[in-house]
């Protein structure tokens, strides 16, 4: 069946520009997560959605980062006024509820800020 789909797979942008990253979770999964993975590093939690609500945004590194989820499905992560330190792979994951750590990850969106 279809897994978690993320787009774009690669994005190169100039410093100061805004970017939007999209995530299509597995159908029926109510929980959705965004993580960030810097080069050669582990994953860093950004934000969690349950349905369309985001009860935990504690990992967003600054107010330049925002995310939304609509229809209990698609999520968009927006980074405004991108900086070079935002360069990373942004991974989206979904799962059936908030009581499991078995997350289903997409392949990620690689963001490069020049």
């Amino acid at each position: 069946g279809a897994g978690v789909s993320q787009s774009p797979s690669n994005k190169v942008t100039e410093k100061g520009k805004d970017v939007e990253l999209r995530c299509d979770p597995i159908s029926g999964h109510t929980a959705l997560y965004w993580y960030r993975q810097s080069l050669g590093q582990g994953l860093e939690f950004l934000i969690y959605f349950q349905g369309n609500s985001a009860p935990d945004k504690s990992g967003l590194p600054s107010d330049r980062f925002s995310a939304e989820r609509t229809g209990g499905s698609v999520s968009t992560l927006t980074i405004q006024r991108t900086q070079q330190e935002d360069s990373a792979v942004y991974l989206c994951a979904s799962t059936y509820d908030r009581f499991t750590g078995e997350l289903f990850f997409g392949e990620g969106s690689r963001l490069t800020v020049l």
Binding site: V4, A31, Y33, Q41, G42, L43, E44, F45, Y48, P55, D56, L91, A93, T95, R98, F99, T100, G101, E102, L103, F104, F105, G106, E107, G108
Partner: protein
């Protein structure tokens, strides 16, 4: 400080041998641990999990051991195959709200399988 970390950045094993990947954690409040496998260019893939009320759990060719006394977690892979070559991450959950998917990941160990 608090951390979830791995003892070795790279582990090289011969095909057919058993592999053991280790992980240390420092927060005794953590009660749920997971191992993920990440192949190059892909997202992490769930392998196995264990809760703090257990000390061992087995899956297909994999076993996770948890030693709460010394805050140590290990992943054992039996009869390692070339397809096991990847980066392995341990992760822990210490979120009191029951948001079990909010994970703290270690830095990862690269497993290289020699034919």
């Amino acid at each position: 400080g608090e951390s979830v970390g791995l003892h070795l950045p790279t582990l090289s094993v011969q095909e057919g041998d058993n592999s053991i990947i280790n992980c240390a954690y420092s927060n005794s409040a953590s009660d749920y641990f997971i191992w993920y496998k990440q192949e190059s260019g892909k997202g992490p893939q769930f392998i196995i999990d264990i809760r703090s009320n257990m000390d061992k759990r087995q899956g297909q060719r994999v076993t996770v051991l948890l030693n709460k006394t010394v805050k140590h977690l290990s992943l054992q892979i039996a009869a390692t195959q070339p397809g096991d070559s990847a980066v392995y991450f341990c992760a822990e959950n210490r979120d009191g709200s029951g948001n079990t998917g909010k994970l703290i990941f270690g830095q990862g160990t690269t497993l290289q399988v020699k034919p």
